[in-house]
C-alpha cells in the first residue's frame, strides 16, 4: 500500500474483506466459531436478500417514481408519520430476531459453546439495545405523534414541515448505518450505552464503536429537531379555541416529550461527539490516562439516558389516556391531575440520572438523595394509574384490541414500577446491579408501557391513516402472544437476576439457571409469534380492506378532533380550521348534533407546503458521511462534509415552496364527504367489530337513551 492511499484511505479506507461475515466461516476453528460464522452470514444474507427483493419489487411494479414523489420527498406530517412507523417495524423485526438468537444462546450456551461466540454475542446485545431504543421505539412514537398530534390540535401541518422530513431522514440514515454494519462487520461490543474506556481506541480500535457513534449521533440530531418542531407546533399551531387545558392528553404528553427531547438529546450528542474526539483525534475526555475521566461520560450519557426513558413512556401514557376514555365511552377522569402528573414526571426525570451508577463510587449521601428522587416519580405515575382505572369505573367498557393491551399494561406496568422502586434503593441496587434483574425491570417498563402503547395506538389510528380497520381476530391473537410472551420471557429474568446471573452473558456453568433460561426462550418464541401475528393482521386487513372500510372516519366513537374528518384524512386535514369550545371537542359536537363540520360557504384557498428533496438529500449525505468516517475513507469524508453546508445554503434559495388548493376543490370533497356520511347508517358500539361499522358511530351519550 503506498503512502497516498494510507493517508487518504483510498478507496476503501480500512475496510477489507475481513469485514464480510463469510470470512468467519472460512477461518472458523471449532464448532461454535463455525456456527457463529453461519449465524452472522445468515443474518447478513437476509439483510442483503431483503434489500434486493425490495429493490426488484419496486422496479417491477414501477414504484420508484411514486415512492420518490409521493413519499420520500413528502413533507405531509401524516405521510412522514407513516414512514416513521414503517421504518420502526423493519427495525423491530431485526431487533426481535437478535433477541431470539440471544435467548437461544443462553439456553444452548450452558456449559460453554453454543451458537455464537462471546464477541458476536456482545455485538448482538449492543445492536439489540441500540435499535430498540433509537430505531424502533423513538421512530414509532415520533411517527405516532407526527400523525396524530397535528390532527388533535386542529392544525394543517407541523410548524416546520421540511425540518420534519430532515428529522425522519436522519433517523433512517442512522438505521441504514446499522443495517450496513450487519453486512460489513463488526458493530460495537460496548452495549447500547457505549461506556468508555472500553469503547476507546485503546481497547476497541476497530470500526464497531465508530458505527455506533455515528448511528446514534445522526438519530439524536434528528430527535432534537423533532422535539423542537413538535413543541413549536403545539405552542403556535393550535386552532382557535384550543387552549392548553383543552388539549387532548395525547397532545399534552407529546408536548412534554418534545420538551424532554429538546433538553435531553444534546447531552447524548455531546457524549458521542466527545467520544469521537477521543477516538479520532486522541483527545482525553474519557480515556484511562492523560487526564481523562470516564465519569464525565456516565454523567453526560445518563443526563440523556434517564429523561429518554420518559421520552419513550410519555407518548404511550398519552395513547392510554385516549384508549381508556374512548373505549369506556367516558370523559377522561382527572384530566387536570393527569396533565400535572405528566409535567411532574417530565421535570423529575432530569433529577435522577445518578441512579444509573449508584455503584461507581460517589458518596452514600448523594446516592441516598438520588434514590429518594427516583422513588418520587412513582407518585405522579401512581396518580395516572388511578385516573385510568377511574375512567373505566362506571363506563361502558369494550374490551377492544387497544383496550386489551391497556388492561394488560395496567397490571404489568405496575409490577415493573414496583421493581423500579426496589432498584431505586441504593443498597438493594448494590446487590442486583448488572444482573438480569435490571434487564427484567426495564423490559417490564418498556414492553407493556411503550410497545403495547404504540401497538394500541397503531390499532386505534390505523383507520384514520388508511381508511380501513385492522382485522380484529388477528389483533387479539397478536395481543395475547405479546402479553403472555412478555411474561414468559421476562419474569424468569427477575428470578435469574436474584440468583445472581449477570446481564450480557453468552455462556455459564450454573445448572440451576438453565430451566429459567429455557422458560425465557419459550416467552421469546411467543413474542416472535406476536410480531408475526401483527404482520399477518396487516396482510389480512389489506386483503379485506373493502369489508373493513370506515370512510366516514369515526369507527370508535372518538372524542377528539381527528375523528371528525374522513378516513383516510385529506392532505389538508381540515376543510377550514375548527373552532373549539371545550375539551373532548368532537364528542361535544356529536352530542349537540353538529358533527358534520363547517357550513359549505366558509371555505378558503388552502396553502400547503410543496414536496422537498432536501430531507432525503441530507439523509443520504448523513449516511455516506457516517459510513466513510467509520471506515476512514478520508478522501470522501472531506467533500461530503463540505457538501452539507452547500446543500443547506441551496435550500435557503428555494422560494416557490407552497402550493394552493382551491377553495372549490375543498368544498367539493367536503360535500361528497357529508353526503357519504348522510347515507351511511350510524352503528351502535355493540356492532363496532362487524362489517356494519363504516366509521359512523352513534355517540355513546345518545345510544344509552335509545
Amino acid at each position: 500500500m503506498n503512502t497516498w492511499s494510507s493517508i487518504w484511505g483510498f478507496p476503501f479506507g480500512r475496510l477489507t474483506l475481513d469485514a464480510l461475515p463469510v470470512t468467519d466461516i472460512v477461518r472458523a476453528d471449532g464448532r461454535t466459531e463455525l456456527l457463529s460464522g453461519i449465524t452472522g452470514t445468515a443474518a447478513a444474507g437476509m439483510a442483503v436478500l431483503g434489500f434486493v427483493v425490495v429493490v426488484i419489487l419496486i422496479t417491477v411494479k414501477g414504484w420508484w417514481r411514486p415512492l420518490w414523489s409521493e413519499w420520500l420527498t413528502s413533507v405531509d406530517h401524516k405521510k412522514i408519520g407513516i414512514m416513521y412507523i414503517v421504518f420502526s417495524f423493519v427495525m423491530l423485526a431485526r431487533a426481535l430476531a437478535e433477541a431470539f438468537v440471544m435467548r437461544s444462546q443462553q439456553v444452548v450456551g450452558h456449559d460453554g459453546g453454543g451458537i455464537v461466540m462471546p464477541d458476536h454475542f456482545a455485538q448482538l446485545f449492543t445492536t439489540h439495545g441500540t435499535i430498540m431504543i433509537f430505531f424502533m421505539a423513538m421512530p414509532f412514537l415520533t411517527g405516532m405523534i407526527n400523525f396524530v398530534m397535528p390532527l388533535q390540535i386542529g392544525a394543517r401541518d407541523v410548524a416546520f414541515p421540511v425540518l420534519n422530513s430532515v428529522s425522519l431522514m436522519l433517523t433512517i440514515a442512522g438505521g441504514l448505518i446499522l443495517m450496513i454494519s450487519l453486512v460489513l462487520e463488526p458493530f460495537s461490543t460496548g452495549g447500547w450505552s457505549g461506556y468508555p474506556p472500553y469503547t476507546e481506541a485503546a481497547y476497541n480500535p476497530g470500526a464497531g464503536p465508530d458505527y455506533w457513534i455515528w448511528a446514534v449521533t445522526l438519530s439524536s440530531i434528528g430527535s432534537t429537531f423533532t422535539g423542537l418542531n413538535f413543541a413549536v407546533t403545539i405552542y403556535k399551531k393550535r386552532c382557535p379555541g384550543m387552549k392548553l387545558m383543552r388539549m387532548p392528553l395525547f397532545t399534552w404528553t407529546s408536548l412534554c416529550t418534545s420538551i424532554l427531547m429538546i433538553f435531553a438529546m444534546p447531552p447524548l450528542t455531546i457524549a458521542t461527539a466527545l467520544l469521537a474526539l477521543d477516538r479520532y483525534m486522541g483527545f482525553h475526555f474519557f480515556t484511562n490516562g492523560g487526564g481523562g475521566n470516564m465519569m464525565n461520560y456516565a454523567n453526560l450519557f445518563w443526563l440523556f439516558g434517564h429523561p429518554e426513558v420518559y421520552i419513550l413512556i410519555l407518548p404511550a401514557f398519552g395513547v392510554w389516556s385516549e384508549v381508556f376514555s374512548t373505549f369506556s365511552g367516558k370523559t377522561l377522569y382527572g384530566y387536570t391531575a393527569l396533565v400535572i402528573a405528566t409535567m411532574a414526571i417530565a421535570v423529575l426525570s432530569f433529577t435522577v440520572w445518578v441512579h444509573h451508577f449508584f455503584t461507581m463510587g460517589q458518596s452514600a449521601n448523594l446516592n441516598a438523595a438520588f434514590g429518594i428522587a427516583t422513588m418520587t416519580i412513582g407518585v405522579p405515575t401512581g396518580v395516572k394509574i388511578y385516573d385510568w382505572m377511574l375512567t373505566m369505573f362506571r363506563g361502558r367498557v369494550r374490551i377492544s384490541v387497544p383496550m386489551l393491551y391497556a388492561i394488560a399494561f395496567l397490571f404489568l406496568f405496575t409490577i415493573g414500577g414496583l421493581s423500579g422502586i426496589i432498584l431505586a434503593n441504593p443498597s438493594v441496587d448494590y446487590q442486583v446491579h448488572n444482573t438480569l434483574f435490571l434487564v427484567a425491570h426495564f423490559h417490564n417498563m418498556l414492553i407493556p408501557g411503550l410497545l403495547y402503547g404504540m401497538i394500541a395506538g397503531y390499532t386505534m389510528w390505523f383507520p384514520k391513516a388508511f381508511g380501513f380497520r385492522l382485522d380484529e381476530k388477528w389483533g387479539y391473537r397478536a395481543a395475547w402472544c405479546w402479553i403472555l410472551g412478555f411474561m414468559g420471557a421476562f419474569f424468569p429474568l427477575y428470578v435469574l437476576g436474584l440468583m445472581g446471573m449477570p446481564r450480557r452473558m453468552s455462556g455459564y456453568f450454573s445448572g440451576q439457571w438453565l430451566p429459567w433460561t429455557i422458560i425465557a426462550l419459550g416467552g421469546a418464541v411467543l413474542i416472535l409469534a406476536g410480531f408475526l401475528a401483527l404482520i399477518v393482521q396487516l396482510w389480512v386487513s389489506v386483503r379485506d380492506r373493502k369489508r373493513l372500510a370506515v370512510p366516514v372516519g369515526d369507527p370508535w366513537d372518538g372524542r377528539s378532533l381527528e375523528w371528525g374528518i374522513p378516513a383516510p384524512a385529506p392532505e389538508w386535514n381540515f376543510p377550514s380550521l375548527p373552532r373549539v369550545e371545550g375539551r373532548d371537542a368532537f364528542a361535544t359536537l356529536k352530542a349537540s348534533g353538529h358533527d358534520l363540520g363547517p357550513p359549505e360557504d366558509g371555505f378558503e384557498d388552502i396553502w400547503l407546503p410543496k414536496n422537498a428533496a432536501f430531507g432525503p438529500v441530507i439523509g443520504a449525505l448523513g449516511t455516506a458521511l457516517a459510513f466513510t468516517l467509520t471506515w476512514y475513507m478520508w478522501w470522501a469524508v472531506l467533500p461530503l462534509a463540505a457538501l452539507v453546508p452547500l446543500v443547506i445554503i441551496a435550500q435557503g434559495f428555494r422560494r416557490d415552496t407552497e402550493k394552493r388548493v382551491p377553495a372549490e376543490e375543498v368544498r367539493k370533497e367536503w360535500r361528497a364527504f357529508r353526503e357519504l356520511a348522510a347515507r351511511t347508517p350510524r352503528v351502535p358500539r355493540t356492532s363496532e367489530y362487524t362489517r356494519d361499522n363504516r366509521g359512523h358511530a352513534i355517540p355513546m351519550s345518545q345510544e344509552a337513551t335509545r
Partner: protein, 206 residues
C-alpha cells in the same frame, strides 16, 4: 392567531398578515433551537470546570492564556453584536437595504477578525505544547472554545448566503426572516462568549 398576541419586533413591515404569523413561528422556533444549543455549550462548560485540574503534568491556564488578546477578542465580538443590532434596526425602519447591508458587512468583518485572533491564540497555545491531546484540561478547552468560533464562522457564512439571496430576490420576506434569526444567533453567541470569558479564561486564571 390574532394580531394582539404578536411579540414586539416581529413586524416585518409586510402587508401580509400571514408573513407576520410565519415570522412569529419561525423566530420562536429559532429561540427554542438556541435553547437546545445553550444546553450543548452549558454541558461543555461544565465538562471544562470538571476537567480544569486534569492538566496531566502539562501546561495549565496560567502558562497558556493571554488576557490581552482575550480582551481584544471580547471587544471585537461585542462590537459586532452592536453592528448586527443596527443592521436589524435598519431592516425594520429603512425602506432600502443599503444601511442594513452595510452594518451586516461591518458585523461580519468584526466577527471574522475575532475568529482570526482566536486562531492566532490557538496556534500560539500549540507552539507552547498546549495541544488538545496533551491533557484532559486541554481537551475540554479545545472542545468548547473552537466550537464557539465555529458557530461564529458559520454565522458569517449564513450572512453571505443571505446577501446572496438578496441579490437574487431582493429584500423579500424570506430574507427578512433569515435576518431576524441571524440576529438572534449573533446575540446568542455573544452570551455564550461571556460565559466562556468568565468561566474558561477568568475562571481558569483565578
Amino acid at each position: 392567531m390574532s394580531q394582539t398576541t404578536r411579540h414586539p419586533g416581529l413586524n416585518l413591515g409586510s402587508k401580509h398578515q400571514s408573513a407576520d404569523d410565519q415570522a412569529e413561528t419561525e423566530v420562536f422556533g429559532f429561540w427554542v433551537f438556541m435553547m437546545s444549543d445553550a444546553i450543548l455549550f452549558g454541558l461543555l462548560m461544565a465538562t471544562y470546570v470538571v476537567m480544569r485540574p486534569n492538566t496531566n503534568g502539562g501546561p495549565g491556564p496560567q502558562e497558556l492564556f493571554e488576557l490581552k488578546s482575550i480582551f481584544i477578542e471580547t471587544m471585537l465580538l461585542l462590537t459586532s453584536s452592536v453592528a448586527i443590532g443596527f443592521s436589524h434596526l435598519a431592516l425594520k425602519h429603512e425602506p432600502r437595504p443599503v444601511k442594513m447591508v452595510l452594518w451586516l458587512l461591518i458585523a461580519m468583518a468584526l466577527a471574522l477578525t475575532f475568529v482570526g485572533f482566536e486562531i492566532h491564540d490557538f496556534l500560539k497555545m500549540f507552539s507552547e505544547g498546549g495541544t488538545p491531546q496533551r491533557s484532559g484540561f486541554l481537551s475540554s478547552f479545545f472542545a468548547l472554545v473552537p466550537l464557539h468560533g465555529l458557530h461564529v464562522t458559520f454565522s458569517c457564512l449564513w450572512a453571505v448566503a443571505i446577501l446572496g439571496q438578496m441579490l437574487v430576490y431582493g429584500l423579500d420576506d424570506r430574507v427578512k426572516l433569515s435576518m431576524v434569526r441571524l440576529a438572534v444567533l449573533w446575540h446568542f453567541l455573544d452570551i455564550v462568549w461571556i460565559g466562556i470569558f468568565s468561566i474558561v479564561y477568568i475562571g481558569g486564571l483565578a
